[in-house]
């Protein structure tokens, strides 16, 4: 906190932040607690970490969690294969008997050993097994870890700002939650969405903006859609609409909705959406 008390997060160039979320980020940084973000895909959980990094000019380290991941992979890797190879062929400059030369820092390890305060984004923690989460809890709590192979402890030089995202595939354990601050990002409302679009297309035609955004929300409401289009899809869709010289914003009000494939990625969803837009007018 001390060295960063004068730096607070207020939003980055491409990221629209509501002041509630800004407050939450700031309080988490001040209390030095990891911030756990939940919310449906496309609400900008991952983008937030990028935005903070950009805004506060801190390096961003991203740990993309995978389902089979073990915590030790995130901390460091002991490259046994290279060592085995070196010992057999002996054509490298590394000293085979020095194990430390074969230790590579993982993402958490990099964040801990960095000289400067970093943002550590642990993306989609819920993909991993509960063991992973519990083990990580210990490491985050103690802010240090051991490299067993060389019997060395890696302490934290500067405590990183930790952002954790979850899509809620699995519940996180209670002790894990206890150490985090929590926020659930709701899907942006149309007003907010207009601001988001505006950031991406500052010169957008108001007519196009209004029609595209309201068509987008109507399409999100179509029943039985498996994967609802999110912010990313809307941005790409508007990009497609703008690139088409024949397209006029008025078309959307007539129920002529082009490039549905940009919004709906699953064939069933696409068929459903096409069906609906043909049957009735959207706006």
């Amino acid at each position: 906190m001390a060295e960063n008390s004068d730096r607070n997060f207020s939003g980055a160039t491409r990221y629209i932040l509501d002041d509630e979320l800004a407050k939450i980020v700031n309080i988490s940084m001040a209390l030095e607690m990891p911030l756990l973000l939940k919310g449906e895909p496309g609400t900008g959980k991952t983008m937030l970490a990028h935005a903070i990094a950009e805004d506060l000019n801190m390096p961003l380290i991203v740990l993309n969690v995978k389902s089979s991941m073990k915590l030790v992979e995130a901390l460091y890797q002991y490259d046994t294969l290279t060592r085995l190879n070196d010992s057999r062929f002996g054509d490298s400059t590394r000293n085979v008997s020095n194990i430390e030369e074969y230790i590579k820092m993982g993402k958490i390890g990099q964040a801990f050993s960095a000289e400067k305060r970093t943002i550590l984004l642990i993306d989609e923690i819920d993909k991993a097994e509960t063991d992973f989460q519990d083990d990580m809890l210990d490491v985050l709590d103690q802010m240090e870890f051991d490299i067993i192979e060389i019997d060395k402890t890696v302490p934290t030089k500067v405590r990183p700002v930790i952002i954790i995202t979850s899509n809620a595939k699995k519940d996180l354990s209670d002790p894990f939650l206890g150490r985090c601050n929590f926020h659930h990002i709701a899907f942006p409302d149309p007003k907010m969405m207009r601001k988001i679009v505006d950031v991406h297309f500052p010169d957008i035609d108001t007519k196009l903006m209004d029609n595209a955004v309201s068509a987008f929300y109507r399409l999100r409401e179509v029943d039985a859609i498996e994967k609802k289009p999110a912010t990313r899809e809307l941005i790409n869709w508007i990009r497609a609409l703008r690139a088409d010289p024949d397209f006029k914003p008025k078309d959307l009000t007539k129920g002529d909705v082009p490039y549905l494939g940009v919004l709906f990625k699953k064939s069933q969803d696409y068929a459903r959406a096409t069906n609906i837009t043909n049957r009735r007018r959207l706006i």
Binding site: M1, S5, D6, N8, F9, S10, G11, A12, T13, I16, L17, D18, D19, E20, L21, A22, K23, I24, N26, I27, S28, A30, L31, M33, L35, L36, K38, E40, D55, S67, S68, L84, R88, A168, K169, K170, D171, D174, L177, G178, C180, N181, F182, H183, H184, A186, D189, K191, M192, K195, I196, V199, A224, E226, K266
Partner: protein, 411 residues
């Protein structure tokens, strides 16, 4: 805390937060003393200067799931209704809260020393006792302290920048918050996520996503370290790398739905939601339909005419298949136990339905019955009690769905 009560002392203020904490706790929101202490730390560091700050910070620190956001909103609105944070000159809870809590959070040993207590003694206290003790200490300190620094309501000195333009050209967008925090809380924006709220698509998806079963499948593209070492040793050190298949999700799921009769009508749409979400989830997902209870056939088509599946042939299915039966399990006793119990003449098969149900339970170890009728009503229906003896039954709610998943995934 109702009305425009003016809080005179730090003690009052402290009591207000303690009460708030216990209100949350009594509403069955899992709030821990640790997080309450973290909240106090935030207060003492001067991060909370307005009611808005209080709302946002207390929620982000104390509440760990969006399912409780709605309940939190209600309690917050009730507790702080009309109570704008008063301007409290000369309240110096800050000092002692900081001194006490920082140590508490960072180093229980140090705190134990400072209080003249043994660490093990502190550990022995229950969370409630701990809080009580903490409160007592704070009171004592309030009396002793004679400094004067401002706390809540001093306004404008927040280090937390939450509006305006940064010189670097960043922008703060979003909803401008002209409403009071209480009003925001009263909007109940998180109603749909509430545990007590209706089942929504997102919640069902969330619960069902936990149904996973990882088994080796696909190409052999992962190095099997143990096998590689073994074979390399066998080769006198000539390296031989062995590959194995990676783990994939290969769970088979059957959903059997009671879609007949008016008694299930209100629940059909909820159950439909479950389908929509479930379909992409598994290696294999099949849905069958039945009416009231299961006789010799179940059907692939909702009208229960065209594509029957004989129940006794289900023995050919993978026994690890997870079966979820959705139905109200409410029917006349004879429908279950009579040899020709079916209300449809063409279904009379010579075996009572209960035998078919027991057969399913024998063949498949992982079966759960989801019942849309609230659990406290189950005792009044005979057929429910009978079926409960055969299958694990859960209520069709987010809670029940989670228990179902846990039951289906247990070994």
């Amino acid at each position: 805390m109702h009305g425009q009560q003016i809080l005179q002392t730090a003690e009052d203020l402290f009591k207000m937060f303690i009460n708030f904490f216990y209100k949350l706790k009594n509403a069955d929101i899992p709030v821990s003393p640790t997080s309450f202490l973290a909240f106090q730390k935030a207060l003492s560091q001067g991060h909370i200067n307005t009611l808005n700050d209080l709302y946002t910070c207390s929620r982000t620190i104390l509440i760990k799931s969006e399912r409780y956001f709605d309940l939190f909103d209600q309690i917050f609105a009730h507790h702080f209704e009309g109570a704008e944070m008063p301007d409290l000159e000369g309240v110096e809870l800050e000092e002692m809260a900081r001194a006490l809590l920082d140590e508490w959070l960072k180093n229980p040993k140090l705190l134990a020393q400072a209080l003249g207590m043994d660490e093990s003694e502190i550990n022995k206290l229950t969370p409630e006792e701990l809080l009580e003790y903490f409160k007592e200490r704070l009171k004592e300190q309030t009396e002793r302290h004679d400094g004067g620094s401002k706390w809540i309501g001093t306004g404008g000195t927040s280090p937390v920048g939450h509006s305006g333009y940064h010189p670097g050209g960043m922008r703060v967008g979003g909803v401008s918050r002209n409403k009071s925090a209480v009003k925001v809380a009263m909007e109940r924006r998180y109603k749909d996520y509430s545990l007590r709220g209706p089942l929504t698509q997102a919640m069902v998806g969330e619960a069902l996503k936990r149904l996973r079963n990882m088994v080796p499948a696909g190409p052999k593209d992962q190095v099997d370290i143990d096998e590689s070492i073994y074979h390399t040793m066998k080769n006198c050190g000539e390296i031989e790398i062995i590959f194995k298949r990676s783990l994939r999700d290969r769970l088979k799921v059957l959903i059997l739905i009671d879609n007949g009769g008016w008694s299930m009508d209100p629940y059909i749409s909820v159950v439909q939601t479950i389908f929509n979400y479930a379909s992409a989830q598994f290696k294999e997902l099949k849905t069958y339909f039945f009416h009231n209870t299961i006789y010799s056939n179940i059907w692939e088509d909702p009208s229960r005419i065209h594509r029957p599946q004989r129940v006794d042939e289900m023995v050919r299915f993978d026994p690890h298949t997870r079966i979820i039966i959705v139905g109200d399990a409410s029917m006349a006793p004879y429908e279950l136990s009579a040899t020709d119990g079916s209300i449809y003449v063409h279904q009379r098969s010579g075996k009572p339905s209960i035998e078919h149900l027991k057969f399913i339970a024998r063949v498949f170890p992982h079966v759960a019955w989801l019942n849309p009728i609230p659990e406290n009503m189950w005792g009044y229906t005979h057929s429910i009690s009978v079926i409960r003896e055969i299958f694990q039954m859960y209520e069709l709610s987010i809670d029940g769905l989670e228990k179902t998943i846990a039951h289906l995934m247990s070994k």
